[in-house]
């Protein structure tokens, strides 16, 4: 869990990355993770951090920046389905499967190893 926290702080601070623009979610590759920035159903911004396939526990985490720069709120994706617009939710699930799943779906060119 400590390493996940370190990663999330590093993510929130931002880093050099690759970005895909043809979707509703703004995707980036950050080291071994794939992260996406999108708008929550409530209107606020959030980031999703994908680190493993859907079978793994804690494979997808939502990071919601707090107003005033406080400690970001983190939630497992599975606990936040209702907070995400359906179009973004499908895109997140598909990106996770493409980048970390075992089905052999095409990995986005920008994220290919």
């Amino acid at each position: 869990m400590a390493s996940l926290k370190v990663f999330l702080i590093w993510y929130v601070l931002g880093s050099l990355s690759t970005q895909v623009n043809e979707s509703l979610v703004r995707w980036r590759r950050q080291d071994r993770a794939v992260t996406g920035r999108f708008t929550l159903a409530s209107g606020g911004k959030a980031n999703v951090v994908l680190v493993a396939g859907r079978e793994a526990e804690r494979s997808a985490v939502l990071v919601i920046p707090q107003p005033g720069g406080g400690q970001p709120k983190t939630l497992l994706l599975s606990e936040a389905h209702d907070q995400i617009a359906p179009a973004d939710l499908v895109e997140i699930l598909c990106m996770q499967e493409r980048c970390f799943g075992s089905l052999g779906l095409p990995v986005p060119e920008e994220f290919a190893p």
Partner: protein, 284 residues
């Protein structure tokens, strides 16, 4: 090469020749609707078209159908599955035949969309609307069939469509409407009408990119097809280039696919995805 914008009637009168449904399939569709439909007669009609019978047996023996035993004859298949399932099988085989000669990526998109529709039909409004998951599969398999005929009869215009979609970042359908005046959904719906397919299939094909184009009572079906299409494209199996078409909130609501129900449906599709690879062999 023709030029200018068409409406659907002018397009099919002057440019595109849509094929008629194979005689055997048309006859089986008629027979199913007869009250005294005889299974042995259905079997004879299927067997009278060897190519169709061969494809149907390959389909029924695929993992998709999950039969416990190998089905080796048409008669066996008819007795085992019943006339309605056979009707869906021969229609699926016919659609495979029609779309199977195109690019592999296009066929994969259509097959995956069929599998997605099948998995979506296990819950929500589709579970009540459709007779069986096999019927749902056909919706996905056939939804983009209009594109086959645009490619065959209007290759130059489609090249312009692709350029426009790529260079101006338009959704593919918007580029079709701008260049041709008719989109693949309208052409596919016309083919389904000519083939006398059921009204729900015709309306779902017509409305899968724009729900307002189909009768209100069929919108849950068209909405679900639209979402299956989007899901498969987001899996990297796009049938064509172009920006993702934003799906209006009303579409998700009409399909009753939001939040946990949506996640469950997507996960069922992922679980069923290996069927796509096997079904792909039927297209060649």
């Amino acid at each position: 090469m023709s030029s200018g914008l068409y409406d659907i009637d002018t397009l099919v009168d002057e440019v595109v020749t849509l094929p008629s449904m194979p005689d055997a399939v048309a006859r089986i569709t008629e027979m199913i609707n007869e009250p005294d439909c005889s299974l042995s007669e259905v079997g004879k009609v299927v067997a009278s078209d060897p190519s169709l019978a061969f494809k149907m047996l390959r389909l029924v023996n695929s993992a998709y159908y999950g039969m416990q035993q190998e089905v080796t004859s048409v008669d066996h298949a008819v007795v085992l599955l019943g006339a309605k399932v056979i009707k869906n099988l021969v229609l699926s085989a016919t659609v495979f035949e029609t779309i199977g000669n195109g690019a592999e990526q296009f066929l994969r998109h259509c097959v995956a969309c069929g599998v997605a529709m099948k998995t979506f039909s296990m819950q929500g409004p589709l579970a009540e609307e459709l007779a069986s998951p096999d019927e749902a599969f056909i919706y996905g398999l056939i939804h983009d069939i209009g594109k086959v005929f645009l490619e065959e009869y209007m290759p130059d215009e489609l090249e312009t469509v692709e350029c426009l979609a790529r260079e101006e970042g338009l959704p593919y359908r918007d580029a079709e409407l701008k260049v041709i005046g008719v989109d693949h959904a309208a052409l596919g719906a016309r083919l389904a009408e000519n083939w006398r397919l059921s009204r729900p299939i015709i309306e779902a094909i017509r409305g899968h990119h724009d729900l307002t184009l189909c009768d209100a009572s069929f919108r849950p079906l068209a909405a679900t097809l639209c979402i299956a299409d989007d899901l498969v494209s987001l899996c990297g199996l796009q049938p064509y280039e172009g920006r993702r078409c934003p799906i209006p909130e009303a579409t998700w609501e009409a399909a009753e696919l939001t939040g946990p129900a949506l996640v469950a449906a997507v996960n069922r599709f992922f679980d069923a995805y290996p069927q796509v690879d096997e079904l792909m062999h039927l297209g060649g």
